[in-house]
């Protein structure tokens, strides 16, 4: 059955840890991970609650395939109500923490209340314990990781923690596991820290022995791995260049948002591309990229492990950063690079290290910095605010400095920690915030990739590429090529991607597999692992059910259809170069059709008939 059927409930106010049986009726409707944890959240959390108050809950959830040998079967998600968007937050992470949670015998951990003082949770199979984290508070993720390893004296523990940014109230703080994998978006780390929960330490030795049909499962996972290996994107492009394979491609199609999305192409894109990461540098003859690394059970291995040039200004006096660690992925590289106008790959890598070290979402950080740079250009933010630093587009020094102060929340770092929306509102130019529902954009300009405009506007967690990645179709031709500049057919495409992704996430798999896998490759793996019939049709139905339930929560939280929109810049200001020249986002043409395809009202409300169809909670 692949679920452990066990849930750990941790009441941080009371200091209690209790075991519950997993609600299998819900598992049958919502599968696991994202879907199932959302079902729990909808049941238990008041949508109107203060996201940083004790009434919000923080959930870590695995899927039925997490911990198995299905390729990429190591994912877990962190869920809560987001302090950045006030909508549902659900951030997915790889690494090894999720699988370890499963090996320890837990499908899910629900944290509720708030600890009186800094605390961490230690799990060794059934032995769970809340332990004082007084000594860890005020430490970075990396330092806390070292201290916990020294304390537990077990080299095989897996750790997820929040850094100083989260403690300081940075609204886009991440939960970082395995040093450089992160549940990055929507401020899930902020919520974790708001509960005085510093870290979760897990050691699991029980394993997973209850796959429903082992023989069929091995056949399905083996066949699916072959599909990944033989696909040019997952078999060659991603292992060699990581997601950074996209930097030059997206720039060429004129959809690389540049300098706070004023432009759609970046003259320095090649300097910060996946290809550039392979170029030997002058100082030591070594490339930025040290090697590629995989998350648990992943046969793609897109992860970048990088080193910074020791002679670079950012680290020349800081030997602690001369190590190999998590390198630039495309979204991070874009936000730290093209969006701030910086083309210095070592500066980007340094900023990325700091995002990992202190748990910040590099997308939101880079994008917020880009907005701050535009405010600086307009004279609304000055060196008086920054303590002397010139926040100029293209300044590598400004980028590195900003990452340092945002990581700790000191001085101007606290302003950057507000996120783009609140920062721009504070300085009187809300229209300069490149956000949807308060969350910063990722690395695809909707003027050059029209489907993404609709995907961003309707994403249940604010602007996000991982909720409906129509880039696959519009640029890469997966599963079939559509014209990125045309809005026709995009509402259906967006809906299909959104529903499919919700199901993939809920299985415990990585969405990057879908460069090669269709649902027909995925459903046999789920079907063999889980009891019951998990056909492609049922997976799509589960995905659509999840999407609607997320929407219902958001509407109740006050994040309504009025927020299904894009910044004016993208709707009114045309792209000024490249293939998308003269284009704005055609969102208004797509949104009504999208609502109709979803079966929602013209106003974007989830109708009673849709609720009934998917058996959503009343």
């Amino acid at each position: 059955m692949a679920w452990t059927r066990k849930l750990l409930r941790v009441n941080l106010s009371a200091g209690t840890c209790t075991t519950e049986a997993l609600n299998m009726d819900w598992a049958n409707d919502y599968l696991g991970q994202r879907g199932l944890a959302t079902r729990y959240l909808v049941e238990e959390v008041d949508p109107k609650c203060d996201p940083l108050g004790p009434d919000n809950k923080f959930i870590m959830a695995t899927g039925p395939l997490t911990g198995t040998n299905a390729s990429t079967g190591g994912r877990y998600s962190c869920l809560c109500k987001s302090p950045l968007t006030n909508a549902l937050a659900c951030s997915n992470s790889g690494g090894f923490f999720g699988a370890e949670m499963k090996f320890a015998g837990w499908d899910m951990i629900i944290f509720e209340g708030k600890a009186a003082s800094p605390t961490y949770l230690s799990i060794e199979n059934d032995q769970v314990e809340l332990i004082s984290a007084d000594d860890l508070w005020g430490k970075s993720v990396w330092e806390a990781d070292k201290m916990l390893r020294a304390k537990h004296q077990d080299p095989q523990i897996r750790i997820a923690a929040v850094g100083r940014s989260a403690e300081a109230g940075n609204l886009y703080a991440a939960v970082v596991n395995d040093l450089h994998r992160a549940a990055g978006r929507s401020g899930v780390g902020t919520v974790m820290a708001s509960k005085n929960l510093k870290a979760v330490v897990i050691r699991g030795t029980r394993g997973i022995s209850n796959v429903a049909d082992p023989k069929a499962f091995m056949a399905a996972t083996t066949a699916a791995k072959t599909v990944l290996a033989e696909n040019p994107v997952t078999g060659q492009g991603l292992p060699a260049y990581g997601t950074q394979v996209l930097m030059n491609v997206i720039n060429e199609v004129g959809a690389l948002p540049t300098r706070n999305m004023r432009e759609t192409q970046f003259e320095g894109a090649a300097d910060v591309s996946g290809e550039a990461m392979h170029e030997p540098r002058k100082s030591d003859g070594k490339p930025n990229l040290t090697t590629n690394g995989a998350c648990y059970a992943c046969t793609i291995a897109c992860g970048r492990i990088s080193t910074i040039d020791r002679t670079h200004f950012s680290v020349k006096d800081k030997p602690e950063y001369w190590i190999a660690s998590g390198g630039l992925e495309y979204e991070a590289a874009w936000a730290l690079g093209p969006d701030t106008g910086v083309n210095d790959i070592d500066a980007l890598t340094y900023a990325n290290f700091l995002c990992n070290e202190d748990g910040m979402d590099p997308i939101s950080f880079g994008s917020t910095l880009a907005a701050a740079m535009e405010l600086f250009e307009e004279g609304l933010i000055t060196t008086e605010h920054t303590g002397g630093m010139e926040l100029k587009f293209g300044s590598a020094e400004a980028l590195c400095w900003a990452a340092e102060v945002a990581a700790t929340g000191e001085g101007f770092g606290a302003e950057l920690g507000l996120g783009s929306k609140r920062l721009c509102e504070k300085y009187g130019r809300p229209e300069l915030s490149m956000t949807v529902k308060g969350q910063e954009f990722p690395a695809y300009d909707p003027r050059g990739i029209q489907g993404m405009g609709l995907a961003y506007a309707t994403s249940n967690r604010g602007a996000c590429h991982l909720r409906g990645y129509t880039v696959a179709s519009e640029i890469l031709g997966i599963p079939e090529k559509t014209d990125p500049l045309d809005t026709n057919g995009k509402p259906g495409l967006v809906k299909a991607f959104q529903d499919a992704t919700a199901a993939v996430d809920s299985a415990g798999l990585c969405v990057f597999t879908t460069f090669a896998w269709t649902m027909d490759d995925i459903s046999p793996q789920v079907d063999a692992a889980c009891e019951g019939d998990w056909s492609t049709e049922r997976m799509m139905e589960v995905g659509e059910r999840i999407w609607n339930m997320e929407r219902v929560f958001n509407m109740a939280a006050g994040v309504g259809a009025d927020q299904d929109t894009l910044p004016k810049r993208l709707l009114n200001e045309v792209a000024n170069s490249g293939p998308a020249s003269g284009k704005v986002s055609g969102l208004p043409e797509m949104l009504p059709e999208y609502y109709e395809l979803r079966g929602w009202s013209k106003e974007g409300a989830v109708t009673d008939s849709v609720k009934q169809k998917f058996n959503l909670p009343a």
């Binding site: 911990g67 198995t68 040998n69 390729s71 090894f96 699988a99 090996f103 095989q156 040093l179 050691r203 699991g204 030795t205 029980r206 394993g207 997973i208 022995s209 796959v211 791995k225 290996a229 292992p239 040290t290 090697t291 590629n292 690394g293 995989a294 998350c295 648990y296 059970a297 992943c298 046969t299 291995a301 992860g303 492990i305 990088s306 080193t307 190590i323 190999a324 660690s325």
Partner: protein, 156 residues
Amino acid sequence: MQKSLHIDPGKCTGCLQCEAACSLENEGMFNPSKSRIKVFTFHDEGRFVPYTCTQCDEAWCMQACPVDAIVLNPSNGSKDVLSDVCVGCKVCTIACPFGTINYNTDTGKVVKCDLCGGDPACATACPTDAITYIDANATGLDKMRAWASKTDNATT
């Protein structure tokens, strides 16, 4: 032809498919903590290194065992633990210079790699050929080829 496991750490991505496969084959579950092959991550250097028993000819674990619970499998050269003979004294774990034979607290016996009887699951599962099962007489062939390609008259 006798074969042996051949490990090329440079190709390893640290995905642990080998550990999942080993534990499934030998313990009937996905459980890396029970794997006989372990991948070590040297984070600061960016290196992943799979490590397991090399099946020494003069196997010190076998020599040290007081109850002859470790025996040679003549078909593939592996040194196998006879679980029903093993008394869990752990002397073999002390004798082994490489640490690749270990005590299992669940069973009270020691466990080590037995090459899965001649079809090692780790090698089958490895997606990058970092772990292969090859002719024991020519485990250096890949390295020889790599160096040969660097000679002056080789085509590049």
